[in-house]
Every structure is written in structure tokens, then in C-alpha cells.
């Protein structure tokens, strides 16, 4: 099956659960590779590989501080993805949960 290269498509890049875990970590702040290795207990090459993919699709930004490379999320690029995710099952699952809360609420008010 022909697939677009992961490196070219930010949506495919976040479809990988490891990279989503990495995004979740970076949502807490800035990290160096060493810090990510400690937090996620991944090997250093594994961390570097996933960071590099996210960097290539512009979801993660890198800056240098002395000899350190520090990574953070690029919120401008992540927002459209997050909005797009809303179209998925999560949208319907969320809707069905909202309906449940609403039904409970209005029936309580009737009593």
C-alpha cells in the first residue's frame, strides 16, 4: 500500500503512539534529549529518532543553549492538528458522553 512518507506529513507523524507520548511530555515544558531519556525511559537513539521526525514536520522546535539542544512544542503547527483530531471517533465518543451528562441533569431537574 502506497503511503506518504511519515516525515512529510504531520498527521501521520502524530499517528504513532510513541510520538504522541513524546508530545505529551513536551506539552509540560522544554526538554533536552537526556531529560527525555530519563523521563520516558527510552534509549537515546529512540528519543533522537522520534524527535527528529517531529522536528521535520515542524511540530517540535529545537534551540541551542551553549552545547545543549533544547526541544519544545510548536503550538502554531499543533493547533490545526488538534482541531482536525476533533473529527475523529473522539468527537463522537465525546458527544455521546456529553449527551449522557445532559440526560442525567435534565432528569434530575424534573424530580
Amino acid at each position: 500500500m502506497a503511503r506518504e512518507k511519515t516525515t512529510l506529513n504531520p498527521f501521520n507523524a502524530v499517528a504513532d503512539s510513541n510520538r504522541r507520548q513524546l508530545i505529551e511530555l513536551l506539552a509540560r515544558g522544554e526538554y533536552t534529549v537526556t531529560e527525555v531519556v530519563q523521563e520516558l525511559d527510552w534509549s537515546q537513539p529512540q528519543v533522537s529518532k522520534h524527535l527528529s521526525v517531529l522536528k521535520q514536520v515542524n511540530l517540535v522546535l529545537e534551540r541551542k543553549e551553549g552545547r545543549k539542544r533544547i526541544y519544545c512544542l510548536n503550538s502554531v503547527a499543533l493547533k490545526p492538528i488538534h482541531n482536525w483530531i476533533m473529527q475523529f471517533e473522539q468527537y463522537w465518543i465525546g458527544n455521546l458522553n456529553s449527551l449522557g451528562h445532559y440526560l442525567n441533569e435534565i432528569q434530575k431537574n424534573e424530580d
Binding site: 500500500m1 498527521f11 501521520n12 499517528a15 503512539s17 504522541r20 507520548q21 508530545i23 505529551e24 511530555l25 506539552a27 509540560r28 512544542l73 503550538s75 499543533l78 493547533k79 490545526p80 492538528i81 488538534h82 482541531n83 482536525w84 483530531i85 476533533m86 473529527q87 475523529f88 471517533e89 473522539q90 468527537y91 463522537w92 465518543i93 465525546g94 458527544n95 455521546l96 456529553s98 449527551l99 449522557g100 451528562h101 445532559y102 440526560l103 442525567n104 435534565i106 432528569q107
Partner: protein, 168 residues
């Protein structure tokens, strides 16, 4: 000969502690829909068009807590009281013009949602069936890929990101 792509629909089931009439009304009356038709707490929902009938359509705006707005056009195909509701929903602009999805050109353009209701002991079982209609091969693949981690949830486990984006 046209090759039809077969795609398994996504099916989500849920049981509500409410009579079937109320659940049906919640799906078919705007005064109910506006109170719940959003995926998370903190969202708002406002209707601009309100014709919920076979062949009719609604247009509503969903506003996320971070202020992001999304217009949704819903075209109703079939409504059987206390039983079935079939519709297709699209991302649109505020005039109900369907928007293309430049970020994901292969996402299915026609997605049909079927709501089936069944009553038992004053509770209501709901089945939501979500499927692309006559998708191209690329669309079928995109749809399948989006739920490759079904159960785990493609968007699941992104609570930090959720919070982070709200603060941006």
C-alpha cells in the same frame, strides 16, 4: 467498472439511563442539541439553521474553551421517531458552504452517521455507526488509519496537549 471500496464502519455503543423518547428528542430538537452536542465540557454550541427533518439541514457553531470556532453542517437523511436518525455532517463555513480539508486531502468527504435507539427497562441503548460513503481508495485508507488504534483512541491520552493548547 467502478471498484467500490469496502470499509468497516466505526461502531460506538452506549446505554443511557433515560427513556427512549427523551433520547430521541435530545437528538432531534435543537433546544436539546444545543446543550450537549460537543465533545468536551466547556464547549459551546449555537444553531443558525434548525431544520431537523428528512432532507432538511442544520448549521451550528461549536466553540472550544480556547476560543476556536468550528461550523458544522448537518444534512438529515432519515428520521424514524424513537428508532433511527441518519445524517451526514460536514465542516463548513458560517454560510453552510462545505470546506475542503487542505491538511488532510484524503479524509473521506462523505461520512454518514446512523443513530439507532432501542429501549429496555426504561433505559435506552444507542448505537452510533459512522462510515464513509463510496470512499476512494485513499479515503478508505485514511479512515482505516485514523482508527488503527481503536479503543486506545487516536486522540486519547493527550490530556497535557489539550491543556497546553488552551493556554496558547
Amino acid at each position: 467498472m467502478e471498484t467500490m471500496q469496502k470499509v468497516e464502519p466505526t461502531i460506538i455503543e452506549k446505554e443511557y439511563n433515560a427513556p427512549i423518547k427523551l433520547v430521541f428528542d435530545a437528538w432531534t430538537k435543537v433546544e436539546h442539541l444545543a446543550n450537549w452536542q460537543f465533545p468536551m465540557k466547556g464547549f459551546k454550541c449555537a444553531f443558525k439553521e434548525t431544520d431537523i427533518s428528512p432532507g432538511g439541514r442544520t448549521l451550528h457553531k461549536m466553540t472550544a474553551p480556547n476560543g476556536f470556532e468550528m461550523w458544522l453542517l448537518t444534512k438529515y437523511e432519515e428520521i424514524i421517531p424513537n428508532h433511527t436518525i441518519v445524517f451526514r455532517q460536514y465542516n463548513s463555513d458560517e454560510n453552510g458552504e462545505i470546506l475542503p480539508n487542505p491538511q488532510m486531502p484524503n479524509w473521506p468527504k462523505e461520512l454518514q452517521t446512523t443513530i439507532k435507539l432501542e429501549e429496555s427497562d426504561n433505559k435506552t441503548k444507542l448505537q452510533l455507526i459512522w462510515q464513509p460513503i463510496t470512499p476512494s481508495e485513499e479515503e478508505a485508507t485514511a479512515f482505516d488509519m485514523s482508527r488503527s488504534e481503536h479503543g486506545n483512541g487516536w486522540a486519547g491520552g493527550l490530556a497535557n496537549l489539550e491543556q497546553y493548547l488552551e493556554q496558547q
